[in-house]
């Protein structure tokens, strides 16, 4: 293990040991994701909203050079000085030049991630200037010498008490441990700053080429004082933030808060084209357009999509591991999921080690208002890191799990004892990095593939069942019951032996060449059947997600992969759409009627489990979907790994979800379709966890 990994693990462990921080952060991210969800559920057509944002951002990034030119011309016509800065040094020398010309020593600043990116404050301070952040959260972390913990709530990791202590220490008088006390102190401290600074520095959320105007959004209103009072105003804006027209800008300043905090608008939205007159004095406005790698990024097919980010923080609010460790661990300067490609592109691969905190749940993409394929970009960053710095041994081992499962199954039940006895578990823990307190799956020699007999292709309705690893080697009953249900509906079912498990671990651990190989293989096997009129059915959400979402990405959206994707269904989705009249009935223990339902992350971009819930309900079960809105944390083999970058983090992610399930004391069972979620839930709840197909029989 190299030092970067060791450093990352130390940081994770530190974060895991700070319970107060974890609960503050989890409240913040939950509030963000619940508020966003409430807003999006009120929308008539949320996917049209996402697609509009995506289209406008993609268009703007594609025409970035033209937009820079048009914006610059119009802003210059308005009387602004426009400077296109290549990098941090360029911005620093421009602003420090303004300071020395105007004699300004004190600069006020309103929140700007783009200036954080280039560590503007530190660099200006090195030139002898004093820069004061005026957003409350930013000022707190500036005084504490920290970086933002969260994009929207930079100081969310600090308690009110610690803020009053910090202010008491820095301001030199007692600041009471109360909201009123803290607010009074910050007003008292910052008011004179606003009125005595020579230069005000603002970030901009949007720049509009059409009229050469910048748009600045704040809730506190600090930006309005920063950009109205000083004689010199500087706006630093990332090149990717320029849009052609006002219609685009309006969509964006609505999308930012909708997606970040669930409000229609940020409290103040200022649209500034030039300085206004006060006292007849000539005052300056400078717009610095920052490149710092963005032009190169826009030409990089793998990463240009990251420029579509509108900086709402929704991906942070839903990311399961970010929600536990926070932005100081899960981030360099840009935090969270979208921070991974941004860091790699802007600050370099060696700063992006935190990419390995991503557990490939895919949730970030489901909430991104611009529909950015963040999971794929993260997988590519991991791949770059693996190629440059090598793979962890335990990850290599986990990547061979599918092959190992085949052997373990072939030699079961002896293998279960050999692998599972206490001595072996200790050895596996020490040598392989497999957490010994995790229950391992019990393999069976009588696999699905061995027990299944394919139908002749006589029937009109032809189906391929894709069992994946668990339903084949561990619980063939899931596959067999599925086949029974499909046959009872009149279909003929095949399940080619040459199909390989989905290859999800390769994606998780950045082994994209191997993931692509599996994708190519499975798509070619399935496509032959799809072209003969077969539909593909799977009962493992990760497998369905792979066939439908991941394989096309890995295979460059080839015609075959798109075809297979279009013909792939979840079991209950297929039954509901094609056999709405088929009514499965309760199976087995008739008294078990009160069920909790867990939605696996990979099922969210599919049906979110609604067809399975409907099937269980129509069979007479009383079902409640129980969710925190994020992942259970198992993430395939991730939760099996020993240590902070495995079971420790995985269990910390699971904790709130398990607590929520356990609060529902009347549950008699839990239904979920994912085999790995079953392991995680099974460890922490006291009722059986089953696949819905185990709870139902054909009607």
């Amino acid at each position: 293990m190299n030092d970067d990994y060791r450093h990352l693990m130390e940081r994770i462990r530190l974060a895991l040991n700070d319970g107060a921080r974890i609960s503050a952060l989890s409240r913040a991210v939950k509030r963000g994701r619940d508020a966003r969800k409430a807003q999006f559920s009120r929308m008539e057509n949320p996917s049209a909203f996402v697609s509009e944002i995506r289209t406008l951002k993609t268009g703007a990034v594609a025409h970035m050079d033209d937009l820079v030119r048009t914006f610059s011309e119009r802003a210059a016509d308005n009387g602004c000085s426009v400077h296109v800065a290549k990098n941090a040094d360029d911005v620093v020398s421009y602003i420090s030049g303004l300071a020395s010309r105007s004699g300004a020593k004190l600069l006020s600043k309103s929140k700007s991630l783009t200036t954080e990116e280039i560590e503007l404050n530190r660099r200006l301070e090195e030139k002898g200037l004093e820069v004061v952040e005026t957003d409350l959260g930013e000022r707190i972390i500036q005084l504490a010498g920290e970086k933002p913990f969260h994009l929207v709530f930079p100081a969310i990791h600090r308690s009110q008490e610690s803020i009053s202590e910090l202010f008491t220490d820095k301001f030199g008088y007692p600041v009471p441990d109360s909201l009123e006390g803290i607010m009074a102190a910050i007003r008292k401290e910052l008011r004179p700053v606003f009125f005595s600074t020579g230069i005000g520095i603002n970030g901009a959320n949007i720049a509009v080429a059409e009229t050469g105007t910048v748009v600045i959004e704040t809730n506190e209103g600090n930006d309005r004082l920063v950009n109205s009072l000083p004689d010199v105003q500087v706006v630093v804006v990332g090149m990717e933030k320029i849009v052609p027209a006002w219609e685009d800008a309006i969509r964006l300043f609505n999308a930012h808060p909708l997606s970040a905090t669930g409000t229609q608008l940020t409290n103040y939205v200022s649209m500034i084209s030039n300085r206004l007159d006060i006292g007849g004095k000539e005052r300056e406005m400078h717009v610095v357009i920052l490149d710092n790698g963005r032009s190169a990024m826009s030409r990089d097919a793998d990463f240009s999509e990251a420029l579509n980010c509108i900086r709402c923080g929704a991906c942070m609010n839903i990311c399961p591991t970010y929600g536990v460790v926070g932005g100081h661990t899960f981030g360099h300067i840009y935090p969270g999921p979208i921070g991974i490609p941004w860091t790699e592109e802007i600050h370099g691969l060696d700063r992006a080690k935190f990419a390995h905190l991503c557990i490939s749940c895919g949730l970030c993409q489901t909430v991104c208002p611009a529909g950015i394929d963040i999971p794929l970009m993260i997988a590519k960053v991991k791949q770059k890191d693996v190629e440059a710095n090598g793979q962890l041994f335990v990850n290599r081992f986990m990547c061979s799990m599918e092959r190992i499962s085949r052997y373990l199954s072939a030699t079961a039940p002896l293998s279960n004892w050999v692998v599972g006895n206490r001595v072996s578990r200790l050895v596996e823990d020490r040598l392989l990095g497999v957490e010994r307190t995790r229950a391992l799956p019990t393999y069976t020699r009588r696999t699905f593939t061995k027990r299944f007999r394919p139908d002749e292709a006589g029937a009109k309705e032809r189906l391929v069942y894709f069992p994946d690893m668990f339903a084949n080697y561990v619980k063939p009953e899931i596959g067999l019951r599925t086949v029974d249900m499909l046959r009872a509906a009149g279909a003929s079912v095949v399940s080619p032996r040459e199909l390989k498990p989905s290859g999800a671990p390769f994606f998780l651990y950045g082994e994209l060449a191997r993931a692509t190989k599996v994708a190519l293989h499975n798509v070619s096997v399935l496509h032959k059947l799809v072209s003969l009129g077969y539909e593909v059915i799977s009962t493992e959400p990760t497998a369905t997600y792979s066939l439908r979402e991941i394989y096309p990405k890995l295979l460059g959206r080839s015609a075959e992969s798109m075809d297979v994707s279009a013909h792939t269904y979840e079991l209950f989705e297929y039954m509901a759409l094609k056999h709405p009249g088929a009514k499965p009935v309760k199976a087995g223990e008739k008294e078990r009627v009160r069920l909790g339902f867990h939605i696996p992350c990979h099922q969210r971009p599919l049906s979110s489990g609604r067809y399975s819930v409907a099937a269980l309900e129509s069979a007479g079960y009383d079902v409640s979907v129980i969710e925190t809105g994020t992942c259970c944390g198992m993430a395939g083999t991730f939760g099996l790994k020993k240590g902070p970058l495995g079971a420790e983090l995985s269990r910390a992610v699971a904790k709130p979800l398990l607590e929520l399930f356990n609060e529902h004391e009347d549950l008699q069972g839990i239904a979920t379709e994912s085999s790995v979620c079953t392991m995680q839930l099974g460890e922490g709840v006291h009722v059986p966890v089953m696949h819905p197909v185990e709870l139902l029989s054909p009607g």
């Binding site: 409350l136 707190i140 008011r191 009125f195 105007t213 009072l229 006002w246 200022s270 649209m271 007159d277």
Partner: protein, 183 residues
């Protein structure tokens, strides 16, 4: 505007949900009178945007309130009270639209603790999409462009333990007096 009453009601609901207060007056003159009543006994002087003068100054004098003659940024260093005109409002978003030609107007709504805006009910638009032509028209002037600001209630933060606080660097109280024939 055919459904003006609906639009005013909607604006009021949304703006008040965001912590602002809406008052209704019959005419512009009544609106100015309402501002006086609202501030009477609470404040002795106010900053105001030039567009509202001179009737505002005359009327407020009746309530013992002086309209300050501001010409420098420093005139706003003590957080006081500001009166401005909201040229438009957006009902669905609950925001007023301030189109400022002078910095003094912006400071009257930004550097004060108490902000009162008067608004013609005919200028409340339904939704955000309707802003594009308004912005375009406002910025289409030759010479110096106005600064346009959407204001959705008092200044706020949740930076400390996610607790909602109003009144950070801007007003902690924002009132809008809506007037007009379309009410």
């Amino acid at each position: 505007m055919a459904s003006a009453i609906g639009v005013v009601g909607r604006f009021r609901g949304e703006f008040e949900a965001l912590g602002g207060r809406v008052h209704i007056a019959r005419t512009r003159d009544d609106a100015i009178e309402s501002v006086g009543k609202l501030l009477s006994g609470r404040v002795r002087s106010v900053h105001a945007s030039r567009g509202l003068m001179p009737p505002l100054a005359e009327r407020l004098r009746k309530f013992g309130i002086e309209v300050l003659d501001d010409s420098r940024p420093d005139d706003y260093s003590e957080p006081g009270t500001g009166i401005t005109e909201a040229q438009y409002a957006v009902a669905s978003a609950g925001c007023i639209v301030e189109i400022a030609d002078e910095e003094a107007t912006r400071l009257a709504s930004a550097a004060t603790l108490l902000h009162v805006a008067i608004l013609d009910s005919a200028n409340i638009i339904e939704n955000l999409a309707g802003l594009a032509p308004i912005i375009r028209r406002s910025l289409g002037v030759s010479g110096r462009k106005p600064v346009i600001t959407l204001i959705s209630g008092p200044s706020r933060t949740s930076d400390i333990e996610l607790k909602d606080v109003v009144g950070v660097h801007g007003p902690n109280e924002v009132h809008v007096v809506v007037y007009g024939d379309t009410l």
